[in-house]
Symmetry: D2
Subunit: 145 residues, 4 copies
């Protein structure tokens, strides 16, 4: 199994632990080992004037995708917390769903560092609209392979 | 007038330009010259399991407060856009409204850089729960003093 | 004593642990409780064309000042390591020494987060030329008050 | 030609404009279109106790590599300046040269955003030891394709 997080474990955690997943309607499309691909549907809650998805909604997508990538590596941990996130906004996204592709750069005993590239779901070039680098702190006794 | 942005100008911009202000219910409490103090009310839309305000809601508060601080310095500009934001999460906030105090570190012709300190509205110590540093890009022809 | 780090402890650590302090000639001017004020002398090793101090030298100053601020809070720890640093360059410094004023925003069991403001030593306004926010990881068994 | 910067143009700029290239001995190994691969030789000036290359030296490598990547896209510009840089330190590098691979995520009229991955030159896995995301501001009249 490429990921250390099963779909059933994921569903259970998201049911308990992710009101933002509900608010924004995030969809987990793929989970790998240290990677995750998540979708932010285009909806009223996320758009800003001009009809494109807002910066804070992109931040929420990146935070969510990185959380899934962390769990794909260390297993289901409900107590992982973000310690820092840096986002660069690159271009205005089109009026479409957004994809966040997260991958871990480091999976340490206490800190996991990763990056997320965000692009338009229907953009054939997958040109990045935002880039995020950030850190999750995981409990020392987190379940691990 | 300490700010280059009147309350009437602010209200007009927020009516057009800030769906997140609506979503989260942000309140602008004070505007100075290059400073702004904004409130994120404690509400269902912003909380996470455990009952404290979520990271993305804190990011949205910081982004909003910095935007107000930028306009307090350069005047009303609806086209200012965030180019980068770095957030450090410091401690779990209490179950209460949050305050974001923004101040500009630089107000350049094209780039404004500032920081935002977030703390609990009812915390007598005003201990910071998050810190943000970020940049807004402003149009070269923005109205200025 | 305002700091948990004595001048003698500081000198001992710097003798062992800070080649960059030597390279750049950093001077620790003040240590408080969770704060530090350090000086980067104006010298050939730090300047760039035009005669002002380079970005990497400012980064080194901020990293050093934050390290001293961490030790002022948790006591002498030679194994503290930087985990992330975000620097915003605000304006070109004058041809003069630079001061880095660091203060901790959080002093946790494992992570210390702080910020550093850098300004020209002879600038009467102390206008910031760079701002840094960053994190140090400290060993769980670090000496503490 | 894959890059908009010739080797002769690069040499001329580096002769004028990069004392840090001298101090650290940076070598430009490859230039592509919006990409650059640079080497930081292992030397006394860059190491810290324990014999591995210091954080500020890695920051300098990333800043340099990103500068070369910017010029590879917009042509030779001596006035590009770093506006922000975020570095995450991932693991302690080995006692060896380091490689910084930079690529632009955005090449705008005024702002270029990119990332740099740093790894050990002799590490067969090229495991990243640091990751950097940052922005260069370029003059509006910079030479461009």
């Amino acid at each position: 199994m490429p990921s250390h997080l099963s779909r059933a474990q994921l569903d259970e955690i998201l049911a308990d632990d992710a009101p933002f997943a509900d608010l924004f309607g995030f969809v987990v499309e793929e989970i790998g080992e240290g990677t995750a691909r998540c979708r932010l549907p285009y909806s009223d809650v996320s758009i800003r004037p001009g009809g494109t998805i807002s910066g804070p909604a992109m931040f929420a997508l990146a935070d969510f995708a990185l959380y899934i990538a962390v769990m794909s590596e260390v297993g289901p941990v409900s107590l992982a917390v973000t310690t820092d996130m840096t986002i660069h906004f690159l271009s205005k996204p089109g009026k479409m769903d957004l994809i966040g592709e997260a991958r871990l750069l480091k999976a340490g005993r206490r800190l996991c560092v990763g990056e997320v590239v965000i692009f338009g779901a229907d953009d054939p070039d997958e040109a990045p609209v935002a880039h995020v680098a950030g850190t999750y702190s995981v409990p020392p006794d987190a379940a691990r392979k």
